[in-house]
């Protein structure tokens, strides 16, 4: 995810930074209009994280214009730079750096033009809110000089951006540009779009993963009010109607007339998914430290597990499409409009240039949700109704059951200790499906509907991104502590009965939960304070600073004198190369576990918008609390049974902890903020539960049932 609002160090002169490398044309990134606007068109997209505001701040800073003079244009494959996927906490690095350089060059171009126009040297000119003035008082402006031809050129990388010591707009908590629309109920979401003559499609999914459509009686559905057609290709089935309610009503009739086969594969046993993971065929990879001599006197082992998790966005995914017989236009809330275009081109055997994908904002996105799948559905139906736009919105049940899930994981940890209790060896083994199956990266479309066609496209198993970029299942498994002789073994399960892909922080959450709760147990076994234990193996000053800050602000160590209350600590550096985060969690153990207070210290480098960073850290921490205490995708041997908010509960207002976020002031380069709090929060809650109850829960979520069952097993 894309939530780090901080600018990196400038590139070398002549070298293009970030996504400017692949998209060097200045005019592709921004336009200056005679009407007094800077139109900025990055390829990154707003997914609820506030990125467009952060990028606007960067533009405002470099061009010396006001935020109110900037219009952020939503990405479009027809004219925006191809910035791939908005994910991985990378947008400020990739897009922000590019825009910073673009604006530095645009400023230089306009200053040169203004110097000629005013007859004053460039060095003597000042810019304020787009007005350019010279020492004589003569004035012009970007708007007076506006000329697209000036930006019809490639970036050179030879104009230095402003040094961050003179920043006045970057580093301030500017208000989000998109929030007024959302707070006053203005039309802003893709769900609100209406196109002239628009029809409504409703998908009818198989009654279980792997089931195929044997026969269909569509007479009752076709007789319903407003129904235009039933569209079928193999097991891909939909109703097209004049209205959304009409389509929904007819879909129920159509469902009654559809006969599905038994699925060709049963789902794993939900209660024992960890055993299933450990027994499946897998692609195994090992990463290890160089060996160093060590002798150990004993080994401590423990096993951990994390269930499948759902994205569970508040809105079901939605898309619109229209096909005129030659050009397919699609409106989508995809994180990667260019990747989506590639897969639509594969699926429909069209040239990518004949497909235009326009980004429109959807509800909060925390990874690879069905945004791309529903775009395929709308495009598929639009190709059946040429000339008429089709809008498709998934049902709540489909949104929960047919989206990709964050993969279940089983983890083994082993620590070798010498006679003095010092770590001499560390082994971390993971069993999990792959953590990404995003569109646009394979030879076959990674789109749900394309797998249900009469001539289905092959569904590739999810993979793990390379470790160099943070990894997938192995994310944060390589020790962030200075242990000798470590080894990380990742077993990527090849069968994928439940579809898996990227969900916020990928494997980092479960790995950090396992490592940080294991460490507390090791520290206790050694009669050592758990924080002191960590500091022995951690000499990175920035890490030690966030730990000290979290302890100070939380008042750690607390005297736990009240029964049923507990406090726990955890720390991690996201991806081992991203933001530093330390958390103290305080919980109440009553009829269930309540997280009451989270004290979070982070170092995210220089923050472009500190309140935006804080908002992302808080949001990540609340989602993580929900994962820690409540969430697991439910399924039987045939189908997913988490199909509504009762069968997939998430944290509610009455259950949300108080959160204080403390940002370490920093001029360091950028580190994303949206994902770094996830793992430490889950682990700190796990440690707090132990503190309260002296029970170690090693499988998420930490529910009352799991605690009772653990209690029952204690001697």
């Amino acid at each position: 995810m894309n939530q780090g609002f901080a600018l990196p160090a400038p590139a070398q002169p002549g070298q293009l930074p970030g996504n400017l490398r692949g998209n060097p044309h200045l005019g592709q990134w921004l336009r200056i209009t005679p009407e007094g606007k800077v139109m900025v068109s990055p390829g990154k997209v707003e997914i609820g994280q506030g990125i467009l505001t952060a990028l606007a701040q960067i533009v405002a800073e470099e061009l010396e214009v006001g935020l109110n003079q900037i219009t952020m244009v939503a990405a479009n494959t027809g004219f925006s730079p191809n910035e791939s996927v908005t994910s991985g906490s990378l947008s400020v690095q990739d897009s922000g750096r590019a825009l910073q350089q673009v604006c530095a060059e645009v400023r230089a171009i306009y200053l040169a033009k203004a110097a000629t126009h005013l007859g004053e040297p460039v060095a003597s000119l000042q810019i304020c809110n787009g007005l350019i003035s010279g020492p004589s008082g003569a004035q012009t402006s970007y708007w007076d000089l506006a000329d697209d031809a000036l930006l019809d050129t490639d970036a050179t990388g030879r104009v230095p951006p402003k040094p961050n010591t003179v920043y006045r707009k970057v580093g301030t908590s500017a208000r989000r540009l998109d929030l007024p629309d959302k707070i006053f109920g203005k039309t802003r979401f893709i769900h609100d779009m209406e196109l002239p003559g628009m029809l409504h499609g409703r998908m009818l999914r198989p009654n279980a993963p792997g089931a195929t459509l044997l026969s269909l009686d569509d007479a009752a559905a076709l007789a319903c009010n407003g129904v235009i057609s039933v569209v079928r290709d193999g097991s891909l089935l939909a109703i097209v109607a004049t209205g959304n309610d009409e389509a929904e009503h007819a879909a129920a009739k159509l469902s009654a007339g559809a006969v599905w086969s038994q699925p060709n594969e049963s789902l794993p046993d939900e209660q024992d998914f960890a055993s299933w993971l450990r027994s499946e065929p897998a692609d195994t990879s090992v990463t290890a430290s160089p060996p160093s001599p060590a002798s150990s006197s004993r080994t401590i082992k423990a096993q951990y597990a994390k269930p499948f998790l759902a994205h569970a966005s508040i809105a079901p995914s939605c898309a619109l499409a229209v096909y005129d017989g030659a050009i397919l236009k699609v409106w989508s809330h995809s994180q990667g409009i260019f990747n989506l275009r590639s897969d639509l081109a594969l699926a429909f055997a069209m040239e990518p240039e004949k497909i235009i994908v326009q980004h429109v904002e959807g509800a909060g996105c925390y990874g690879h949700n069905p945004a791309d799948d529903v775009a395929f559905d709308a495009a598929w139906l639009a190709r059946h109704t040429p000339g008429r736009p089709v809008r498709v919105q998934w049902s709540r049940a489909d949104e929960l059951a047919w989206a990709p899930f964050g993969p279940a994981m089983a983890i083994d940890l082993e620590a070798d200790l010498d006679a003095a209790g010092t770590i001499t060896g560390w082994r971390h083994s993971i069993w999990s499906n792959g953590h990404t199956s995003r569109p646009g990266r394979g030879s076959s479309p990674a789109l749900l509907g394309a797998w249900h066609l009469a001539t289905p496209f092959e569904r590739s198993p999810a993979i793990n991104p390379p470790l160099a970029g943070g990894g997938g299942a192995e994310r944060n498994a390589i020790p962030g502590y200075e242990f000798p002789n470590w080894q990380v073994t990742s077993h990527r399960i090849l069968n994928m009965p439940l579809r898996t892909s990227a969900l916020r922080s990928l494997g980092a959450m479960a790995n950090i939960f396992a490592v940080e709760t294991f460490i507390d147990d090791l520290a206790r076994a050694a009669n050592t304070d758990p924080v002191e234990w960590r500091l022995r193996y951690l000499h990175d000053e920035r890490a030690r600073a966030v730990i000290a800050l979290a302890l100070e602000k939380s008042g750690w160590p607390q005297q736990n004198l009240i029964e049923g209350k507990g406090a726990g600590f955890a720390y991690a550096r996201y991806k081992n190369s991203g933001a530093y985060c330390a958390v103290v969690a305080e919980i109440d153990a009553a009829e269930q576990i309540y997280a009451r207070r989270l004290t979070i210290a982070v170092d995210v480098g220089l923050a472009i918008n500190p309140d935006g960073v804080r908002n992302q850290i808080e949001g990540g921490a609340i989602q993580a609390t929900s994962w820690a205490l409540k969430e697991a995708v439910r399924f039987d041997r045939t189908r997913v049974t988490s199909t509504d908010w009762e069968s997939y509960p998430i944290l509610r207002f009455s259950e949300v902890p108080k959160i204080s976020v403390h940002i370490v002031p920093s001029d360091h380069p950028p580190l994303g903020a949206g994902e770094c709090s996830i793992g430490p929060v889950v682990a700190a809650i796990g440690n707090a539960v132990f503190d309260a109850l002296h029970i170690r829960i090693r499988q998420l979520p930490i529910t009352a049932e799991r605690i009772m069952s653990e209690l029952a097993q204690q001697p």
Binding site: Q49, K182, I183, I314, W645
Partner: protein, 167 residues
Amino acid sequence: MMPAAPQQPLPSTCITVNGQSHVLQVDGDTPLLTILRNHLYLKGTHYGCGSNQCGACFVLIDGFAVASCDTPIWAVAGKSVTTVEGLGTPEQPHRLQEAFLAGQAAQCGYCTSGILISAAALLSRNPHPAEADIHQALDRNLCRCGTHNRVVEAILRAAGQPAPRTP
């Protein structure tokens, strides 16, 4: 909604939305949410689940926060409906909307209108709620981005109460 028999004329239903009266000739079982979004083009009220489980579609009906997704239009006849658009405008914002902006109490914003409605219902019957009252009033509203604490602080602020950040 059930399709109307073609030969029967659709019934007339009179509802008041944001102070304006509307006479609608629609099937009485049509959900209020459909009327708001597709007939009156008030898109600020959002579809989330269709079964009164998430709060994204909340509107005020005679002052109470009610799910419009599973409220049939016949049940609203003669009643007064207020949507987020009726709470306030950028020019004349509701104090809750002002406080949400000041506290940046949203991320994606999809659940925001339903939350504003629950909060407005709360403040109208309890102008000075304690935090626990707010939690209780908003417990039917789901937010996936995790903006809960900002929302609670904004409501306290709108109620004229100090809303200190957690120390």
